[in-house]
Each structure stands twice: as C-alpha cells, then as structure tokens.
Amino acid sequence: MKKPRADSKLDTLPESRVLELRDGLLGGWRYDDALSWLSTECAVSSSLSALSAFFKRHCAPVMKDRRQIAALKAETLVGEAGRTDWNAATLELVKQVSFEMMAGEHLDPKISEKFIKLILKADSQDAAREKIKAAAKTKIETGLEALFEEIKGNAKAEGLFKLLQQEVAKA
C-alpha cells in the first residue's frame, strides 16, 4: 500500500489546529518549533518538506492578501488624511512607509527615522498654524468690536458692518 504523503497529515488535522499552525508560521515560528508543536500538541510527526508545502498552501495566500490590502490602505489612508502641504516625494514616502508597516515588512531604520521626524514636524507645524490662526482671530474680533463702537447708531454703516462680519466669518 502506498504510504500517505507526510504533508497530507497536516491537512487532515482539525481545522482549528490547521489555523493555529498557519498563524504560528505567519507569526514567525521556525519549522523546528512547528515540528515540536505538532508532535506534542497534535501527536503528529511531520517533516520540513511537508511544512514547506503547508506554508505554500496556507500561509503564502494570506501573506499575499495582507500585502495587497496594505498597498490599498496606504493609498486610501493618505488620501483621506487630506494633507495638501506635503510635496509629491513626501507623500510617496508616507505611503511607502505606511504600506510597509501595515504589510508587516521589515522597515529600513533610516527611512523610519525620516518618517517619524516628518510626522513630528507636521504636528508642530499644525500646532503653530493653529496658534497663528487663533491670534489673528482675536485681533480681527477686537478690531471689529472697536469699529462697531464707532459706527453705532448709523443704520447704513451697521448694515454694511453685518455684511463685513459675515465675510470675516466665512474666511
């Protein structure tokens, strides 16, 4: 009688065990670790080539999907963030690093450093921009109050003042 293929043993494991093995391998188990887990937890003896075949069938498609989703997410996330003050090269860097992080790829330390600095710089620029905006708003409001005091009682001027106020609010 023909001996069953060693890798077929892995496919006949209960589904929960197949998933555990798949997740373990995707999470970084070495084949040695997987073999000893199979032996102790599932009472199954297997081989390196069987594990390799298992990896191709069960883990590779998951990795492909993960990468594909990460590439799509990197595009949409950056698009949704709606930053318009970054140039094309910076946007490309942000998309690439986002993709690599989400796909679980190894990140180049120098690129990661550049990315972190960029985010921190963008945050402090946002804060400074908000501060300037708030200061300008206060100045405008004070100016408008003073102007209103001057024109109080003049109906035509008050009408024009209201229009001015609306335009300032829009800006």
Binding site: F55, A60, Q96, E105, H106, K110
Partner: protein, 74 residues
C-alpha cells in the same frame, strides 16, 4: 520567472517591494527557482522598463511600471 516577478509586484502596485521579499514570493510560486535566475530576470525586466529597481542602503526595492502592467494584461 519574469511573469512571476511581475505578478508579485502587480499585487502591491504602485508600492515598492523589497527584492528579498520579492524573491521569497517567486520561490513560493515557482519550484526550483534559483537566485541567479531571479536576479537575471529582474535585470532584464529593468532593461525592458517593466520594473524599476531602487537601490537602498539597507535593501534594494522593486516596483512594476505601466509597461510591466501592460505586459501582464496581454
């Protein structure tokens, strides 16, 4: 081999993929693939402008071009 490379890169288009990751993808797709053949195929694809290779200090990365995508669509 060239098609396997283009297929792997097309999944993450327009992002760059580390050539080491690309090689592991190709190995999973093709039995008996050799690293020498992989490097040769990658260079040929770059000459044909179907792939862009970007040298890095840490790792090299590759990206599929519009010409590469067009070849896959043929």
């Amino acid at each position: 081999m060239q098609r396997a490379i283009l297929n792997a890169l097309s999944l993450v288009h327009p992002r760059l993929l580390a050539t080491t990751t690309l090689w592991s993808e190709v190995m999973l797709d093709m039995d008996g693939a050799t690293y020498t053949a992989f490097k040769k195929a990658l260079t040929e694809l770059e000459i044909k402008n179907q792939v862009v290779l970007i040298k890095g200090e840490d790792r090299d990365k590759a990206k599929i071009t519009d010409a590469g995508l067009a070849r896959l669509a043929e």
